[in-house]
């Protein structure tokens, strides 16, 4: 039995939720979509350069019960500064309240199943599954089909959440191959401020495949920062979708750091659904070995007077492959839009390759939009300059590459996290100023 059939079987065993305020309907719709569309192949335009089909020919376990992850296991993957953070722990795609810590007032975390029938039901009904409008493929539908295991995070109106929210996605693959499908809906209330940091870790040596979706709804005057750090092992692969919907005049800032060893596909969608929204998207990827990174971003300018700014930088070494696909839509109403996008890549080894597609689709005329992308190698002259001053070639290279990455590092506004990422990148580059 291949994995897809197994998943379908698991689906049929899910408890019936048709009575649950629309959750059952969303789930069934998604399951039907999965059946018609299947898992995307490279013939699917959005999956042209990324093959995930092989993950569905292997046997994975979809874990429903409790896992054996302990506090000690969690300690091994904790991010610096956790003493001052809210921590949400997902194990094999399921939220574990015993290991999670909520420190801040005004922050509510509860299962989607509950939220769908209590005072938050309108929010859930209105915003859950919005991402499906943007990602029409089987893998997205697959996550939604299991939506009832998901979580709802609510940030109360006017609250400034001082402690960042760390989200740990831990896959316990010590005993078997594991498929995990975390799902989260975040609602950031009016005038609230919040910061998220999300990481992915696999325990054990069996294979893991994570298909995770987070939807973030940002209200009027709210500020949201979102950082994603991917450092997972080579036997761990993931498709991670982040869908941000700015429904009020708001500000979002995202940084995606991909230092993974396996295959990663990131979907980042930002919908600017009200006037005067502002969105900043940054990304850095450093790939080594056989790893594969695919960043698909969509910025949808639906309303006038919005601004978006996107910069993704990549370094590709060994036999790694990089994919970047940046879409900017400017709808007919969205006059006075400013949208910028840039993707820069450095190829460090003979076997490395990159496929990039910066895409503009513009239906309004009074706009300023530009995109650019470059692919190249390290500048010979800069290398020569450093070497002529007695710096060894390898140090010169890492110095230059570190300098290349700094633009993005600077965008991480949580100090311990920035230092942590800087350290990770420096280690990979064998860069040591001291």
């Amino acid at each position: 039995m291949n994995n897809l059939e197994y998943i379908k079987e698991r689906y049929s065993k899910l408890p019936d939720v048709s009575d649950l305020n629309g959750l059952g309907v969303i789930r069934q719709k998604a399951f039907d979509a999965l059946n018609t569309m299947g898992i995307p192949t490279t013939r699917h335009e959005e999956w042209k350069y990324t093959r995930i089909g092989s993950f569905f020919n292997k046997e994975y376990k979809y874990q429903a019960g409790q896992s054996a992850v302990t506090a000690a296991d969690l300690a091994s993957v904790r991010l610096p500064g956790y003493e001052q953070a809210n921590e949400l722990v997902y194990i094999n795609g399921r939220y574990v309240p015993e290991l999670s810590v909520i420190r801040s007032k005004g922050l509510t975390v509860q299962p989607l199943q509950e939220a769908a029938s209590n005072e938050y039901r309108d929010i859930v009904a209105k915003h859950l599954g919005h991402s499906s409008n943007y990602l029409k493929d089987g893998i997205m539908a697959l996550n939604t089909a299991f939506v009832q295991d998901g979580m709802f995070v609510h940030v109360k109106k006017g609250q400034i959440i001082e402690h960042p929210i760390y989200i740990y996605n831990i896959t316990d693959a010590r005993e078997a191959n594991v498929l995990s499908q975390p799902r989260t809906l975040v609602y950031v209330g009016e005038n609230a401020q919040v910061k998220f940091v999300e990481t992915f870790n696999t325990l054990g040596t069996q294979e893991s495949f994570t298909n995770r979706v987070i939807e973030i709804v940002v209200e009027k005057d709210a500020i949201t920062e979102y950082y994603k750090i991917q450092t997972d092992a080579s036997h761990a692969s993931q498709v991670a979708t982040t869908h941000i919907q700015q429904i009020g005049k708001s500000y979002t800032h995202t940084v995606t750091v991909s230092l993974n060893y396996g295959l990663v596909r990131n979907n980042l969608n930002i919908v600017l659904d009200e006037q005067y929204c502002e969105a900043h998207l940054y990304g850095i990827y450093l790939q080594q070995g056989q790893s594969h990174i695919d960043n698909h971003t969509v910025v949808d300018h639906a309303k006038p007077h919005c601004e978006s700014n996107e910069l993704y930088k990549g370094m590709l070494d060994d036999q790694s492959t990089g994919v970047f696909n940046g879409k900017i839509f400017v709808r007919q109403d969205a006059q006075k839009t400013n949208a910028y996008q840039s993707n820069k890549n450095v190829l460090l080894a003979e076997g490395a390759s990159v496929n990039t597609k910066p895409q503009l689709e513009i239906f309004a005329d009074d706009v300023k939009c530009s995109h650019g992308c470059t692919i190249g190698r390290l500048d010979e002259e800069s290398l020569f300059y450093l070497r002529s001053r007695g710096i060894t070639e390898s140090t010169a290279r890492s110095l230059l590459l570190h300098g290349f990455a700094v633009d993005i590092l600077e965008q991480i506004k949580i100090d311990p996290i920035r230092e942590y990422v800087d350290k990770l990148i420096s280690e990979r580059l064998e860069f040591d100023l001291a």
Partner: protein, 481 residues
Amino acid sequence: MNNELSAIEKTVLTDYKYGFVTDIEADEAPPGLNEDTIRFISAKKNEPEWMLEWRLKAYKHWLKMEEPNWANVKYEKINYQDIIYYSAPKQKKNINSLDEIDPELRKTFEKLGISLDEQKRLSGVAIDAVIDSVSIGTTFKEQLAELGIIFCSISEAIQEHPELVKKYIGSVVPITDNYFSALNSAVFSDGSFCYIPKGVRCPMELSTYFRINAEGTGQFERTLLIADEGSYVSYLEGCTAPIRDENQLHAAVVELIAMENAEIKYSTVQNWYPGDKDGKGGIYNFVTKRGICQGAHAKISWTQVETGSSITWKYPSVILKGDHSVGEFYSVAVTNNHQQADTGTKMMHLGKNTRSRIVSKGISAGVSNNSYRGLVHVGKNAANARNFSQCDSLLLGDKCGAHTFPYIEVKNNTAVVEHEATTSKIGEDQIFYCNQRGIDTETAVALIINGFAKEVMNQLPMEFAVEAQKLLAISLEGSVG
């Protein structure tokens, strides 16, 4: 603003200047496509057996293919059984000089501004004119023959130079390449053939003029151009069609082959009938154009000015196979009213030290959609490949769209590839600056657009640049408010 708007309405109604029909009796095949149609065409042309087999092979392959739907264009499904695949102006057999050509036909070309003999005397451009599906006359043939240059219709080439045709036809665009090229391979009725021998620099611009005249016909011409070692040729192509309510299909294939040190410059001014202001009628221009830089230091340069057609689907490409070879693509694509254009290029870097340059300018007005779609591919062995692409779009009006789909695939770490694109409208400050100096808005817009497209226009040969500039002005006249 109101005054200006009415001015727009007036000028948007500007007639398509080339929309007349010439009343010539045509020799037509019955509409529809089957093996018999292909045999009919082949027999009409008195073609050798291998050519017919090649056509049938293409047809069989075409039957297995599906019409592509990935382009950013919308149109009603084409019924391939409704099209007349062969239509030739009836004329006396064996014409020896241009004077024997049907006077009606000659008048057509005079109206188009390319009177064959006038052109011959004044500009020194050698023309092969193709009306509907058949080549009707080639000027300057003898003078070119003295240099060893072969410039004739492809039907003639099949008769007289079968070894060349057999060797090269389908070598750049194989019959299996895509839906429309397979269709073309099966039913192409004529086109131009050109061979420049070793070391010869073609002394004049060679030119083809295409015109669809008869109703219900499709035009499927095939151009094959071979530049042998160290030669140079500049080739021009122009197109027009009469006004009709229905959509007509034009599915051409152009193949260029540049040997070592050879250079081919291929320029197109495409002004097929774009349909009326409500989007009715017009030509579907589904064309496959591709060149190969076979030898080292070869160069192929495509320049196109696309103002016509209701739908344009066209990607002139260069395969940079020889080391140090160069590919260039310069394009201005203008869409107005309901026109749709999905055009761009492919640069396939295979050899070492290959270079390519892409400059694409899209101008959209009315409710049209204009897309740039391009691919820059750097293969594993293409060390030191270099590409620069620039795609700029100008939007005139708030109902049109401009889209960019650049694909960049790099598999060699010594390659340097850059791409940049911008989209904007004409700035109010720019218009104000002109107004201030006594230039009215309409003229100011024309001025700015001309400046926007200048980089591409400069690549066109002199005679074409003037025509292209006029076309640009006509296509966009009054579309700015």
